[in-house]
């Protein structure tokens, strides 16, 4: 199994641990990711605030490049791990399909650059690939260090399921929970799975745009996860990960109540269960990594929850 791979800017920068852990777990599961040659920034959400049509053109160049990697008419699966890139690419496809004016403008612009896009690309998130292509049974079979008793808060964030829910329920997504169960861990039941982390308010990364608003959203999420005794919160988005991890101390100061919680990528926790070395999972890059000692298991703790 081989997929075209669109890393996006964050995975080459502040979230390089996401790329490291993603490549390591996919390799361990026998899934190939071929990085798209000369990919450009997807335009993110910031570009849409300046010029929507040029933002579509940014994303469309990547779709055209991805299509070039395989002869037609077969579809090309393009894996986009960053929830921001994922949504932006999906949104561009949606507008290309539904709006003649967008399709004409973007088609003409690509042509000017010597490119062409037919619409054969399927934008996929790695979580979708793991759960629906690889399958949880195969994942569970590959687990050599199950994680019994590890209480995981699965956090999906906003753009993975909104506005497009392509592979999971929009209001109560479960794919990450099912993946964690397959690793023998205990996903906690909590109502904040798709609540905005405030990343675009705090964000950027580092610089506050509307910091007070962002810090409040972080505080609400972290406190709820702690209240439900989560050992770790896992995300599927580099921006959520950065935001929830890096501003913990400031949230503690502002709200007078320290909240300390390990914030990981779902691929890192998966990698641990697959027995991969922490360094290959980029765990040494995290500001905090503090998981409880897990009980030794007798007779395999991994199980699949359908």
């Amino acid at each position: 199994m081989n997929y075209a791979y669109y890393p996006g800017c964050s995975l080459k920068g502040s979230s390089n641990s996401y790329e490291e852990s993603l490549l390591a777990v996919f390799e361990a599961l026998g899934v190939g990711l071929d990085e798209l040659d000369d990919w450009n920034c997807c335009g993110a959400t910031a570009y849409a605030a300046v010029d929507q049509m040029k933002a579509f053109a940014m994303a469309a160049r990547n779709l055209a490049l991805a299509e070039e990697t395989a002869e037609g008419p077969a579809p090309v699966d393009l894996v986009a791990p960053c929830a921001g890139c994922y949504m932006t690419l999906l949104k561009t496809q949606r507008y290309l399909n539904r709006h003649r004016a967008v399709a004409d403008t973007i088609g003409g612009a690509l042509e000017a650059g010597g490119l062409h896009y037919d619409g054969r690309v399927r934008v996929r998130h790695p979580l979708d690939v793991l759960v629906n292509d690889v399958g949880l049974e195969r994942v569970a079979d590959a687990v050599i260090r199950p994680l019994p008793g590890l209480r995981v808060a699965c956090y999906y964030g906003c753009l993975l399921v909104r506005p497009f829910a392509t592979f999971d329920d929009q209001h109560n997504p479960m794919s990450m929970d099912r993946l964690m169960t397959a690793l023998g861990a205990e996903p906690i039941d909590w109502p904040m799975k798709t609540r905005c982390c405030g990343g675009s308010c705090c964000g950027g990364p580092l610089v506050g745009t509307i910091r007070e608003a962002g810090l409040r959203l972080i505080s609400v999420l972290l406190r709820e996860a702690k209240r439900r005794d989560a050992d770790v919160l896992v995300t599927a988005c580099p921006l959520c990960q950065f935001n929830l991890e890096c501003f913990q101390e400031r949230v503690g100061r502002e709200f007078g109540e320290p909240v300390e919680l390990t914030i990981g990528l779902f691929t890192q926790v998966l990698g641990l269960a697959l027995g991969l070395d922490e360094r290959r999972l980029g765990i040494h890059r995290m500001l905090r990594w503090d998981l409880p000692e897990l009980a030794a298991i007798d007779g395999g703790g991994a199980r699949v929850c359908a």
Partner: protein, 160 residues
């Protein structure tokens, strides 16, 4: 948030241009699409907020040194030219243009990230910058472009 989204829509319909474009609410919108997916009338509220942000940036009516529009503009300038976003450079640039004092306050965090290899000042770039520039210029050359909102119902779980 000075006006709720419902009120902003009504004000837009009533033609209260200055009040709408000058409102703080459009910048507080984090773009999380929660409202869009919840709206029973399938109004693409988030995309409408983006349209208002675009208009406010174009007309220069946002508060001075306010982070969000500055970030958007600097981000676009950088990816237009280089094809990729160099996160750390963008961050420093943004500090300098909005709140230079915060740069000192946040320096310890930046240093911790740098030590872990998560903050690099290297310039990220694509190879075919000329091609990207041609594509973007071709978009700019189209008269009367830019659908702002719309896009049909985006709620629900149908695929893209």
């Amino acid at each position: 948030m000075d006006y709720t989204p419902r009120r902003l829509i009504a004000m837009t319909q009533a033609g209260m241009r200055d009040e709408v474009l000058g409102s703080f609410s459009i910048w507080v919108c984090a773009g999380c699409y929660a409202c869009t997916t919840a709206c029973p009338k399938e109004i693409p509220i988030t995309d409408m907020m983006y349209a208002l942000k675009r208009t406010a940036i174009r007309e220069g009516v946002h508060p001075r040194r306010f982070g969000t529009p500055v970030l958007a503009r600097e981000f676009v300038r950088s990816v237009d030219r280089w094809g990729r976003n160099s996160e750390s450079r963008l961050a420093i640039n943004l500090y300098l243009k909005t709140h230079p004092r915060l740069l000192l306050q946040d320096y310890p965090l930046a240093e911790r990230l740098r030590r872990r290899g998560r903050m690099r000042l290297r310039r990220e770039s694509i190879r075919q910058r000329a091609q990207l520039r041609t594509i973007l210029r071709a978009v700019e050359a189209v008269p009367d472009r830019a659908p702002t909102t719309g896009g049909g119902p985006t709620a629900g779980s149908e695929g893209a």
